[in-house]
């Protein structure tokens, strides 16, 4: 088939005498044919045009994800931290010569000074209004007035006389008609008493009110303003906790927005004594208000069990001075015995719910009473500890540590003891959420009494939680979606189902809604929609189909198709090339022949 030494097609070449110039090696007399070239190129082109179809047939279904929206969401959350509108209203009762506008600017300065460092996510966009009430009952206030506070309703003598709880209630009535321009309204009432030598008392209520009562406040007016702004920022805005006491990622709420509180009563050795509890009543009586109060932040369910034969795994030692067995803080990491404590993940908790274990540990007769010694040598009053994100342990010692005679019967933990246990538990629960449980909040300027709520969390604390939680949820949602988009873009052969695309879409939608709710000041609504956004984002990321990268990999594709396409492609391409080369050669020959003929 080699064309190098092909003979000319012309049969007359055997008699070269007719055209003496004709050299069969370099020229030909007839036009080279196009038939074979056409065939080979057609085959080649049909192959090439078939390639896209083949490509389409091995393509993997990928739902279109809104990459652009995801990026813009995460950019937005990174660049502008989420801020909620908060309205602070200060009422100065019994102040004669103070002008409200001046007070407002001073409070604003104080607030700005305090918030300068903490520009973190979930804080407030502050708007302040001030009302000053004369001792005569005349009022002047800053404009625009945000609150329909009726002048003269607050009487100076109410404060200090009654119980703090009653004052709190009455303040709630006074400010019930108030609403800030978006967001919740917090108020501080400063009452200047006429009487001399009355101590300054500052109380933060369970709702969103605080009051400072004292005499001679007008003279110490700079102090008062500083304290008012401190209450606004440190208590109402930051929840009375240190800025970095708890990070968002340590918020003990599952990524699907659910939280299971699993209570276990551990009888470490039932041969010594057996204790039982009536947890259902605790649940209904004490825990239900707490779970209800936390409903916007987490969907909480409560369950309990009693376990037996559950020794702790650390050792305790007898302390002669304290007349009890002692375990130290250094033993705490070894206290929880995961081999014998079958606390169990709950079947009621689905998927990505968070389970917080609260364990009441009853020591055996050999180590009773058992106490926790603090590093300073004192004995812990709560006799318990928490482990962040896991839960808490409370050691409860039976009274007198007297063994039951012969066969142990089932004893009930008395209601008083149970109440104490629940108190400690609530303290631990608050601590897991980052709140302190002290009744006195102390700052540089003085101390504040904080009224506890029977729901475990006061309203202003819940507001703080809602704000922080919204912020954390949105951050987590954007990082989850961001990593999903990075993952999807980095694995071009991963199947992405429509369901994932839908979830991403809805998650983005919910995140947008949470942001707009937050800007309008709907704390709990933004918390719940941010929860939804996070849970949808997590659902998309952990969708079962995403875990399995397609088995139909490039290697597989190559292995299946190469035995056919490689040899065939070789044939086709080579044939086309050769035909093309030959055609060019023959044409050149023909052209030389033509020129020769012309010249001849």
């Amino acid at each position: 088939m080699e064309e190098t030494d092909s003979d000319p097609l012309n049969p007359t070449t055997s008699t070269p005498g007719t055209t003496p110039e004709f050299d069969p090696k370099t020229m030909r007399s007839s036009k080279p044919g196009l038939k074979r070239l056409l065939i080979t190129t057609t085959v080649l082109f049909s192959f090439l045009s078939g390639l896209p179809f083949l490509w389409k047939s091995v393509e993997i279904y990928r739902s279109q994800l809104p990459f652009h929206d995801i990026d813009s969401l995460s950019d937005q959350i990174k660049s502008t931290p989420l801020r909620f509108p908060c309205t602070f209203h200060a009422v100065f009762v019994g102040f004669r010569s103070t002008h409200p506008d001046q007070l407002r600017s001073e409070i604003q300065d104080g607030v700005n000074r305090l918030t300068r460092r903490s520009s973190q996510c979930g804080s407030c966009n502050v708007s302040i209004s001030v009302t000053v009430q004369n001792p005569d009952g005349h009022c002047s206030e800053t404009l625009p007035s945000t609150c329909s506070y009726r002048c003269g309703v607050i009487k100076g003598d109410v404060f200090g006389a009654g119980l703090d709880d009653m004052v709190d209630e009455s303040l709630d009535d006074v400010f019930s008609g108030c609403s800030g321009d978006g967001g919740e309204m917090y108020s501080v009432v400063v009452v200047n008493k006429e009487k001399e030598d009355e101590e300054v008392k500052a109380v933060v209520g369970k709702r969103r009110h605080a009051w400072i009562v004292g005499s001679g406040l007008e003279e110490r007016y700079g102090d008062v303003v500083a304290r008012v702004s401190e209450v606004f920022v440190k208590v109402f805005m930051n929840g009375g906790r240190e800025d970095d006491s708890i990070h968002g990622e340590f918020m003990p709420v599952g990524s699907d927005g659910r939280l299971v509180l699993s209570f276990s009563l551990l009888n470490s050795d039932p041969r010594d004594w057996i204790y039982d509890w009536d947890f259902q009543r605790i649940d209904e009586g004490l825990l239900a208000p707490v779970t209800k109060a936390l409903a916007p932040i987490a969907d909480i369910s409560v369950e309990s069990q009693v376990l037996y034969h559950t020794p702790k795994s650390s050792f305790s030692s007898w302390d002669e001075k304290l007349q009890s067995y002692i375990f130290r803080t250094s033993d705490l990491p070894f206290f929880v015995n995961s081999n014998e404590w079958h606390l169990d993940t709950s079947a009621g908790a689905s998927g990505r719910s968070k389970i917080l274990q609260f364990v009441v540990y009853i020591p055996s007769g050999k180590e009773c009473p058992l106490h926790l010694q603090l590093p300073n040598g004192e004995i812990s009053k709560t006799n318990g500890f928490i482990s962040p994100m896991w839960g808490g342990v409370i050691v409860w010692n039976p009274r007198n540590c007297v063994k039951d005679s012969e066969s142990p019967s089932r004893n009930m933990i008395s209601p008083q003891d149970l109440e104490k246990i629940v108190e400690v538990f609530l303290g631990q629960f608050r601590q897991l959420f980052g709140f302190k449980s002290e009744a006195i909040y102390t700052s540089e300027l003085g101390s504040y009494k904080i009224l506890p709520s029977e729901r475990g969390f006061t309203e202003w604390e819940l507001d703080v939680l809602s704000r922080k939680h919204t912020c954390f949820n949105l951050q987590s949602c954007s990082t989850t979606l961001g990593s999903l988009s990075r993952l999807v873009q980095s694995l071009p052969r991963m199947i992405i189902k429509d369901e994932i695309g839908e979830q991403v879409k809805y998650s983005l939608k919910a995140a947008k809604l949470a942001q707009s709710n937050a800007s309008l000041g709907g704390y709990s609504s933004s918390a719940s929609s941010s929860r939804e956004a996070r849970s949808l984002a997590e659902n998309a990321f952990f969708h079962p189909s995403i875990m399995s990268v397609s088995y139909f990999s490039y290697e597989h594709c190559f292995a299946v198709y190469s035995p056919f396409f490689l040899p065939v492609a070789g044939h086709v391409v080579l044939a086309a090339l050769r035909e093309w080369k030959r055609y060019k050669q023959e044409k050149a020959k023909y052209l030389t022949w033509l020129t020769r003929k012309k010249t001849a």
């Binding site: 259902q280 369950e303 309990s304 812990s380 709560t382 009930m412 108190e423 601590q431």
Partner: protein, 638 residues
Amino acid sequence: MAGLVLTRPIPLLILQSFLLAVAFGSNEVEEEFSEALLLKPLPDRKVLAHFHFENRAPPSNSHGRHHHLFPKAISQLVQKFRVKEMELSFTQGRWNHEHWGGSDPLSSMNAKPVGVELWAVFDVPHSQVDASWKNLTHALSGLFCASINYLESSASYAAPTWGFGRNSDKLRYGSLPREAVCTENLTPWLKLLPCRDKDGISALMNRPSVYRGFYHSQRLYLSMVDSGEEGVGSGMLLEQTLTVVLQPDDVSVEKHLQPSWSLSSLFGRNVVGKCVLAKSSNVYLQMEGLAHPEAHTLWKNAEFELSIKPDRTLRESSSVLFIYSIDKSSDSEPFDLGLTWKLPSKWSCQQAPLHASRFLMGSGNERGAIAILLKATESQDKLSGRDLTNGRCTIKANIFQIFPWYVKVYYHTLQIFVDQQQNTSSEVLKKINVSPSTDKMSSGMMEMMLELPCEVKSAAISIEYDKGFLHIDEYPPDANQGFDIPSALISFPDHHASLDFKEELSTLPLLSKFKDKSLVRSYTEVLLVPLTTPDFSMPYNVITITCTVFALYFGSLLNALRRRIGEEERFLKSKGKKTGGLKQLLSRFTAKIRGRPVESPSSDSPATRSSILSTKLLFKIILVAVAAAAWQFFSTDM
């Protein structure tokens, strides 16, 4: 668990204003737990130990949330999947119906098919039953560390209508014959007991001795007890049993004596006290077929001797039950019950009316037949459960069988032989319900009710099948081992097993269980069907060879299309005088063989040509040798 944070002492005021209006000491029924162990010497020199744990939860609305003794995990399972009744068993070994009994309550309830068996009745609308079943299998497989989740696919379970003995249309049944049962299944099962294996009777469960036995069946039965009241949830009953058949170490010299044993020699452990949470905690010793008359009353007699005096002795028509309470045992005084035989003793157990076995017929990888053989047992005459309809004495037997879809059964080939005579079906076959299998979708199921004459010696049922082909990715790992057909269940609806000791003590959990009439049932063997298994690298081989053939065809077609025949002919003609290299080589070769000088085809310088050719040839030979050496090297290297 790093980073533990201390709670500061909290003078907590949160609840000060809030008094607990909680009154304790309610008169509610509490959750109850009881444990029992039944020991029974078997005629074939073995000992049966049957652990029985019962956990009852009274009707309440807080099930799944607050529990004291009842395992929370099970309760949550029940709440979540609306399970009404459920039984799960893990079995290793096969129950010996001839020697270990076939018609007593113990064997009818605890003789289970090999592997895992699960059935459940749900309390959900019909459309949701399958979904609930699937979720339940997944939950259980997580709970018990077993591959129960393989029962999820619709091709592995069935919905029996009446053949299973429970008439419910919300019942699902599935079994996994190949599931290996070991400690990883026992540990989670023990976790459901309040005392686990720390205390009480369950402390006897020394893993090596339990798993050394001939038969081992661990069962979990759950049922809801309706309270009958409105607005109150139903109560729950959880029954956990472990049945083991052990061979005592025989130390006696006399071979004809039954082996003597004690708890410590059987299990390697002692009972050192009851589980303090158990309401009752008893050990029973059941002796059957005692020959000596005084043996029925005395615990020390001429025939045998017990090491501990029983608290009570109960009698039944054919057996004696010694009852021990283990309350008094302690660390210093462990409860170690022993039995010493003095006289050779022989007895036989109560047998089911018919002994069932199942086997495969036929050969090859294409078709075969399954046969179920029912043989009359010796004790048949003693049984009372006969049905005297129309003056004829008959034995009813229900057969329930699941066929996997790849065993394609031809139901028209069903043949019934009674006493080796082929029988027209209608005579014996009273009722039959068949649901054929769908390929890859659902398994086939056959339920049939036979009515055999009492004097029958043997009855056989055979049915033919074709073996199906599975898709390549449907084969399990180690497909060459073969495929299992789950056990068939033979039950005798007119025969009921019960032991009634006619005493007030029958209220004890285990005894009351025995008193309940239970259906006599027996499971057949598991069958192993070898299916044609492909070479799993086949697809690639096929792809490669077909692609190569296609490529060859395509290439030669293309070449043929662009071939220039006229040109080639001319080319050959011009080259006619100078032969090709190969041709010349051949001619030289033949010339050498013939011993004649090479007749050079052309006159021009043959010597130079041959020298060039020889170097070329040499090069070629070297190339081939190198290729061969490389091939050898790499192929041995693999």
